[in-house]
Amino acid sequence: MATAAAHQTHGTEERRAATAAYEQAFDTAVAADERIEPRDWMPDAYRATLVRQMAQHAHSEIIGMQPEANWITRAPSLRRKAILMAKVQDEAGHGLYLYSAAETLGTSREELLDKLHSGRQKYSSIFNYPTLTWADVGAIGWLVDGAAITNQVPLCRCSYGPYARAMVRICKEESFHQRQGYELLLALSNGTPEQHEMAQDAVNRWWWPSLMMFGPPDDESAHSAQSMTWKIKRHSNDELRQRFVDICVPQAESLGLTLPDPDLKWNEERGHYDFGPIDWTEFKEVLKGNGPCNEQRITQRRRAHEEGAWVREAAAAHAAKHSDRTGARQA
């Protein structure tokens, strides 16, 4: 494996030959399930795909704080409040791990945040739905985190080392997120009739958007094939979606709640649950910015960043004044 630095050879011919050699070394490493590390040579498109994916993932974590933070101040018991605060905090932490991983490819967090704030980079569309009742906190934990985990576990073996390592840490920490959501819904389902209804209503609203989290069907997925070859991705969208449905059906039964899909039934032949058609028009609309909360989420994010500017400036100014003492380096 070689670095981009050594790339600066002389003639075009030589450069082309060198690139071919690097490319082959890269392909061999990926095929052999070796990890690619930050300073290794990598195809430009691989780098771009990773930066895009890691950034989008990081953005999803920090935008994803909002719908749940919406209920911190109203959590109905102190135990639930502590759990929710810890969970939202974890999401900030996970955003940080992922921005760090993206930064190993030479893109600064400032740059990535700027792209998020200006709408040039996306985050998971699921967070453009509102949390209307307390039960939504449970539905997010069970379904949204459940779908995220199904997506993320294979990423622990992603070919890019820093991303894979961040995902190992994230998956380990997230195991409590899904369980707390399930437990929360269970308490509601077994609670008063009003609480039960609240839980069912939340599941009705979050089920389909959760299925959309796996992305468009395989035959329409733009980046899938290349990402599979590069081992950034290990399973297809439809494969993961099916896995998620199969896991959820018995869990819903134990909860005493119904998944809002009349076509949901066990298919003996396939060994999987069949499920009804997904409304991809809704998915595309939300993706385009027409979801119920797109504007609100990005506005809040931008505002927090802008209102915090004077604080970040102050700390930087202080560090510059006292750099001898604090050992800070201003690049």
């Binding site: 704080m65 018991s77 102190l78 502590a82 308490a187 609670g191 008063t192 915090g308 004077w310 970040r312």
Partner: protein
């Protein structure tokens, strides 16, 4: 068992528990709004420490959820300082500096004794030492950062100054030396402000309305709204379990 041992110092447990509960709630309001991601994590850590303390303290006085969710505003015994709205980041830091300096002195003293709060205080004093350090580090940076941050920090330190006298009113069942604590508090806060190039606020540290009022159940206007938000879901479903 003697009478002294069976008496739960309810007034004191509520006072300290409400302080921790209310401040934790205020800090929780920062979630998703902090000036930088690293600070999201830091503020949540402090809020979680305080919530943990609140749960232990309220449980000494009764059922934690009943106390948190079903008392009226006038029954809360927290300091007015901790219920003050977050304001800008400088206000939050000034509130943290004033309160955590007090709480650190208080818990250090309680931990050294053998009263009913000693076990909790022994654990909490370490958490609070960290909160105090966090507030101090930020006060230094905001005070001695840019002109704007200096001005904001100065305004915040001034604005909250009048709520700081209340901390040193004696509380029933708290076996501490308020006068000694107050002297140590002033010395410590003065030192941080001086190093942050900030003037010591000049106004009174307590007025007719603020002096010991929170501990008697007299609060400021924004507190009622905070409680309404905190309690509404719990109160909407009487008797439900969550």
């Amino acid at each position: 068992m003697t009478a002294a041992q069976t008496t739960v110092p309810t007034t004191a447990a509520l006072a300290l528990g409400d302080d921790a509960l209310v401040l934790s709630h205020r800090l929780g309001e920062w979630a998703g709004h902090a000036p930088v991601l690293e600070e999201e994590v830091a503020l949540a850590n402090i809020a979680l420490d305080l919530l943990g303390q609140a749960r232990v303290l309220l449980s000494m006085a009764g059922d934690e959820d009943e106390l948190a969710y079903l008392r009226e505003e006038r029954a809360f015994r927290n300091l007015q300082l901790v219920e003050q709205p977050n304001g800008d980041f400088a206000h939050t830091i000034a509130r943290q500096l004033y309160f955590s300096t007090y709480q650190h002195l208080l818990y250090a003293e309680l931990a050294a004794g053998d009263g009913p709060f000693a076990p909790l205080a022994a654990k909490a004093v370490k958490e609070v030492a960290y909160h105090r350090d966090h507030a101090e580090q930020w006060t230094l940076r905001l005070g001695d950062g840019t002109d704007e941050s200096h001005e904001r920090m100065r305004r915040a330190a001034d604005a909250l100054w009048r709520f700081t006298g209340e901390m040193f009113r004696p509380v029933d069942g708290l076996d501490v030396d308020p006068a000694g604590m107050e002297a140590a508090w002033l010395e410590s806060v003065e030192d941080v402000l001086r190093r942050a190039t900030l003037p010591l606020p000049e106004g009174p540290r307590a007025g007719g309305w603020t002096a010991g009022a929170g501990r008697q159940g007299l609060h400021t206007e924004s507190f009622g709204r905070m409680l309404a938000e905190m309690q509404h879901l719990h109160r909407s479903h009487p008797g439900a379990t969550w």
